[in-house]
Symmetry: C2
Subunit: 190 residues, 2 copies
Amino acid sequence: MKLLKERILAHGQNLGGGILKVDSFINHQVDPILMEACGEELARRFKSVGATKVLTAEISGIAPALMTAKFLNLPVVYARKSKPVTMPDQVYLTLAPSHTKGRMVELIVSPEYLANGEKVLIIDDFLASGATILGLARLAQAAGASLVGIGTLIEKTFEGGREALSTLGIPVESLVAISSMDNGKFEFAG
Amino acid sequence: MKLLKERILAHGQNLGGGILKVDSFINHQVDPILMEACGEELARRFKSVGATKVLTAEISGIAPALMTAKFLNLPVVYARKSKPVTMPDQVYLTLAPSHTKGRMVELIVSPEYLANGEKVLIIDDFLASGATILGLARLAQAAGASLVGIGTLIEKTFEGGREALSTLGIPVESLVAISSMDNGKFEFAG
C-alpha cells in the first residue's frame, strides 16, 4: 500500500535490532485518516471471507482493527492484557511474548463476545514473529470459532511470522512488507 | 445522544457500586459504526475550539478519540500506561487512579508528540471522578500545551467529575449523562 509505505519512509525510524518505530502515526500518535485508509484496504482484501467478527489485541491493534471492522460492518473485539472488573470469572486466556515489554503478557477474551461458530478475522498492526497473532488464534480456537483471515499493517518478513502462521491455512495479508532493516535502512519486499 | 442512550438501555449492564458495563459495544467488544457516530457528534461539538491535537488514554479511550480525531482531521495521541522501548528516556509522566484496576496507573506521553503551544482536546470513554482526565490535563500542561475542551461518551454525574474539571475552565461535553445507577436502574440527566 503506497500511502503507508511512503509514510514509513518519511516518518518511520529504524532503531536497530529490527525495531521499527512508527510512534508518530500508528503506535503512540495515530493518524486517523491514514488508519481509515488502511482499514478500508484491509476490508477490501477480506470482504469475501465471510468474517463475523474482527479480533485484535490491545493496544496498538485497536486503531487498525476498528477501522477495518467499520468497513466490514462488523464488531471488533480486542483481547485485554489484564482482566477488568467487568469481565466474568471464566475467560479465555493465553500467553504471548511481548516485543516491547520483553516478557510474556496475557491475552484475555470474554466468552460473552467470542462464540462457538464465529468466523474470526484477526487484524493487528505488525506481523513480526507472529506470536501475538498465534495467541489470538488460540483464543478463537478455544472459543470454538474458526479463523478466516489475518491482516496486518506492516510485516517484517525477516522475522518469520508468515511461516509461523502457515499452519493455520488461512489468507495472510499485510499492507507493507519490509524484508530488511539492516544498516539502518528499510528494504521492501515485492 | 439518542443512539448511545438507547444502546446503554438495551445492552449496558448496571453491575452495582456505580459500575456500568458497556463491554459489548465500547470497552471490550466495540461497535465501530456507533463509535464513528459518537466521534462525529463530539467533533461537531468541538469544531470551533481550535484544537491541534486530540489526547486520550489507552485503552478504552482510543476508539472514541480516534473517531473524533478523524472528523476533526487531527492526530490523536494516546497516553501509554507503560513505557515502550521506542519511547525516549525523557517523558511526561503522571499518576492517576484506575477504577477497573483498583490502583494507581502511570500515564506517559512522549515529548515528541505533545509540544509547547499545542491546543489539546481530551477525549475519553467515561467521565466519572475525572481523575484520568485530570491526569491527561497535567500531561498537556507539563508539555506547555493549552487545553481547549474535554469530551466523553458517558458521564456519571453522581461521581463529581464535572466539578473536579471545572477549575480547568474549558468546555466539558458528554454524549450521555447518567445521574443515578441506584437499585440496578439507569436514570439519565437532562
